[in-house]
Symmetry: C2
Subunit: 346 residues, 2 copies
């Protein structure tokens, strides 16, 4: 069975089954257009913990447990967990993995983590190495602000290109079979495309969308070349958190490359807040695409309204140190295909 095609695309002949998912968000996200789609929305973004870092860890754990339950499993049934977050040394994911006691593979792909975890999780399941597995990503506005930008207490204002880090965790359970009582019975993953690190020389940490758009364009282009498909083969081509400015840039780049995606493009970051919430260019953070995937995209696939989507979480690769040293901010985007299948269909 062929398992690779073109330069960077992997085929999954056993097509891993999406059986469960869950997400948890805070108030800003539940006030947005997808507010009613999220599984859990809390008013208090400390989740009762004594630091925002512990709150983020709490969210991560709850998303995994809830996703297992929605897939008809207990979290102890998981054979592996793949995931990460934005904090230094991915402490959120590491401490959650300690508490959950699931075999753990830590990833860092900045905001591309959700598609990286789905890509690697699909390989584990498709190749019969381990199943079921959990793919997880998580971010928190308050931990990200103080690590990457300024203390919240300073009350700094942000420039028009800035995006707000989503407080949210999302988890998808992949398995090698349908599960009785599971939330989903119609979604599978037939292929994925690995991203490359692309740098257009952006060095403005308040303009992450521009840093990530070229990487998204590169992976979409490569995915089309590898598979012989184009935008019309997808109901939606979804990017993680380019925001409004980055979205404009991506659409322009794709037109320049003769692969227009205007008709089917959807950016989770651009859509997660309403304009009346005044979060400038939209949402960001690896939780952004994770909660929109699990809250908004998967239900549309499950119902059959959409037959096939291309999901690209997009990451801006930098640290405060690299930025202070004058380095530019490259981006990366991995792509994962989700398809609707009729029950029993192979």
């Amino acid at each position: 069975m062929q398992k690779q095609i073109g330069e960077r695309t992997l085929l999954f002949p056993n097509m891993p089954y999406v059986i469960g998912s869950a997400n948890i968000v805070a108030k800003a996200e539940s006030d947005g257009p997808f507010g009613t789609c999220f599984d859990t929305a809390v008013e208090d973004d400390t989740f009762g913990e004594d630091s925002f870092e512990k709150a983020e860890c709490h969210m991560f754990e709850q998303a995994v447990k809830d996703a297992c339950r929605s897939g008809g499993l207990a979290h102890k049934d998981l054979q592996a967990m793949l995931g990460g977050d934005l904090l230094n040394q991915i402490i959120t994911a590491n401490y959650a993995a300690r508490d959950l006691q699931i075999p753990f593979l830590g990833l860092y792909g900045a905001c591309s983590t959700m598609s990286e975890s789905l890509l690697l999780g699909s390989i584990l399941v498709d190749g019969s190495y381990r199943a079921p597995v959990a793919c997880v990503a998580c971010s928190h506005f308050s931990t990200a602000e103080r690590q990457y930008r300024y203390p919240l207490e300073m009350g700094t204002t942000s420039p028009p290109t800035a995006q707000r880090t989503v407080t949210g965790a999302g988890c998808v359970i992949l398995s090698d079979r349908w599960q009785n009582g599971a939330r989903y019975r119609h979604i599978r993953i037939p292929s994925a495309t690995i991203g490359k690190v692309i740098d257009y020389g952006i060095d403005d940490i308040s303009n992450m969308g521009a840093a990530m758009a070229p990487a998204a364009c590169d992976t979409i282009l490569q995915h089309f070349r590898d598979t012989g498909r184009n935008a019309s083969d997808y109901d939606r081509i979804v990017t993680g958190d380019l925001g409004s400015f980055g979205t404009d840039m991506l659409l322009r780049l794709c037109r320049e490359k003769q692969i227009p995606i205007d008709d089917c493009h959807f950016d989770c970051g651009k859509e997660i807040y309403t304009t009346s919430q005044k979060y400038n260019c939209g949402g960001s953070g690896c939780g952004c695409s994770a909660v929109v995937l699990t809250g908004h995209l998967l239900p549309h696939l499950e119902s059959g309204e959409w037959k096939r989507i291309l999901f690209l979480a997009t990451g801006a690769l930098m640290s405060t140190t690299s930025n202070q040293q004058g380095e530019t901010i490259p981006g990366i985007a991995h792509a994962v295909v989700f398809e609707h299948f009729k029950a029993g269909e192979q």
Copy 2:
């Protein structure tokens, strides 16, 4: 073909081929017992760059290019690169991936990164998803000191349990076939065991060995249970960077669990420096196990002196933030089996 066994072990029926490797170290490492084994040793640990961070990135890139050459390939032939480092947001690996332009999957497993990358790289190759692939880990004394501890200029002294972060990068090339002109023709990877995050409540950031030893013990025990093997099946059971104190703790823990490994245990961190170098408990950092694997262990397997080793890079999972917030330091260890094969043997 069976590809999983027991609770956490993966079997690789196609047994990925180790075809190339390379490493690069600085003066402290080349002054140690394995000084003559390393491929490249430099006097100037800035590598001619204007920051230690850029120097680390330079090392990472050079290790990948040299490893490809030793495997009879150009780095453009690589189908994927899996790796990471210790810096916030793994900037070393990300910027190296930008410059190398190889499809990239970023990992964070602290000092367990080398075995995590080998485990996931083996899956990509064994499952026919992508080959050849590069598995890489890298650390630098000066970048780690200033990020995790104190500015070098302070000249702080370190407690007896402390270890010195190795300045070094190591890369292993895995493929789905032997390669003409490649450095290795006798080493393959038949299986691996995923680690769990284990916490014994250690909270002393100068005693990482103690934080990691319980995780190493847990993975060794699970590997033995899953495979029905014991220490006598291995010429060496190798841990990454427990150092002398952590090694004592691991040996004691293994004896307590009735799986004594005293006769075949080898710790890269404990052995990389001589006692006359006075680096307290030895070396650490994810480069430590990566350079000892590529400089010392693989040649012994290639020659047939050793038939089978279990390689466990060991990671301490914490950040300066988590430590300041009073969190303990859990550990993780993934295990990878390397075996000697006669040429042509299946």
